[in-house]
């Protein structure tokens, strides 16, 4: 009960910050995504109430854009850059290795909630291709070999 009120209260705060403006829906959802690392259903209901937007409209926007996730994301977002330069340097091999090592498919989160695997286009670090970004940190010239050690290090950090 307490958790639900907190989400509602935080959402109210965010809506107010953006001037209670209907057209700020995307910016509001971005702030909620950043706060909770996903879009909790209670938050979306609260947004609908606060901005007087039908739930179907909010759901349309929340599911249209890649930034938003309706399910909690892992602690570390593992983003494999699939830009053209990285693709040409074998990014697909990195993605496959990560899928195998983390035992999840693209878009999924590991059972211990540590990692969510996604594809991203493009980080614009083409001189460092192929690139994988983990928890916001860029790993340049990545080879398949280095992946187990890197994942181990992130796990240690917890």
């Amino acid at each position: 009960m307490k958790k639900a009120t907190t989400i509602e209260a935080k959402t109210k705060e965010i809506v107010k910050k953006h001037g209670r403006d209907k057209t700020s829906l995307i910016a509001v959802l971005q702030d909620i995504q950043e706060t909770y690392n996903y879009l909790p259903k209670e938050a979306l209901s609260a947004v609908g109430e606060q901005l007087d937007i039908p739930a179907s409209r909010i759901y349309e926007v929340a599911t249209f854009y890649n930034t938003f996730s309706l399910n909690p994301r892992g602690q570390y977002l593992v983003e494999v850059c699939a830009g053209t330069a990285c693709h040409v340097q074998g990014a697909f091999n990195l993605m496959d290795r990560l899928k195998r090592d983390l035992n999840i498919e693209r878009g999924e989160t590991t059972k211990d909630n540590m990692f969510t695997l996604e594809e991203v286009r493009c980080l614009g670090c083409c001189s460092l291709a192929p690139v994988v970004r983990i928890g916001g940190n860029i790993h340049p010239y990545l080879t398949q070999d280095e992946i187990p050690r890197i994942l181990r290090n992130y796990r240690k950090q917890g």
Binding site: K41, P54, A55, R57, Y59, E60, T63
Partner: protein, 237 residues
């Protein structure tokens, strides 16, 4: 008034008329799927395309949204136009292989299915024309259903794919759907749609079930007309 040509025929129409309407008013048929007179236009299905020639430039446009222009030359059935229509129908047949409406329309226009296109099994008869969403938003005012996701995953339904919390059971979406994709089950005293079962109200005069209670409640709330007055069916009014 605007003067222009469709399929070699000289046409006159009021400024602001869409080519689709101007053509139909002059006996020239253009097939459509997503255009309906009750709702705004979106130009999504691309079936009503025509070629519009202005000077040296000829472009393919959807006639449902293209306003008539002085001196423009429209062709509704040339090779380029038919190529697009053929592709659209072949793609829709692959998307909705069970849809009789699309199959019949294709047959009428002499289009065979394309065997190289993989057939979908999970799209039902939905061609994502958005008519249902628009009627619920613009005419009914409830916005119970909407689109979600994008691209191939785009789908229509209540938010979160859950039973609709706000649907009033009016059935406008099922009525406007060009392919009959939306399932609405009506028994004597109930109506099932979008996961909800609605109790039907009886007419105060003839006693027949005629509309969901929730729909009447909604209209009453919106218009201020009391329920008692609304509980009379169309025939008895």
């Amino acid at each position: 008034m605007v003067n222009f040509i469709i399929d070699g025929k000289k046409i006159t129409a009021e400024k602001g008329t869409m080519v689709l309407e101007a053509a139909r008013a002059n006996g020239i048929d253009i097939p459509t799927l997503c255009a309906h007179e009750s709702v705004s236009r979106s130009g999504a299905c691309r079936l009503c395309v025509v070629e519009a020639k202005k000077g040296k430039r000829a472009k393919i446009v959807t006639s449902c949204l293209y306003p008539v222009e002085e001196g423009i030359i429209i062709e509704t059935k040339n090779e380029r136009v038919m190529n697009v229509r053929r592709l659209v129908l072949q793609l829709l047949m692959a998307r909705c292989p069970e849809s009789e409406v699309i199959r019949d329309l294709a047959k009428q226009l002499g289009v065979d299915p394309q065997p190289r296109f993989n057939q979908d099994e999970d799209k039902g008869n939905c061609i994502l024309c958005r008519s249902c969403v628009r009627v619920c938003e613009e005419v009914v005012g409830v916005s119970a259903i909407g689109f979600s996701c994008r691209g191939a995953d785009k789908a229509v339904g209540p938010p979160f794919n859950e039973d609709s919390a706000v649907c009033i059971g009016c059935g406008a979406c099922a009525f406007i759907c060009p392919t009959g994709h939306i399932e609405m089950e009506t028994t004597e005293d109930t109506r099932k749609i979008w996961g909800r079962t609605f109790k039907m109200k009886t007419c105060a005069v003839c006693g027949r079930y005629f509309a969901p209670e929730d729909q009447l409640k909604y209209i009453s709330k919106k218009t201020g007309v009391p329920m008692k007055e609304l509980a009379v069916c169309m025939d008895c009014r």
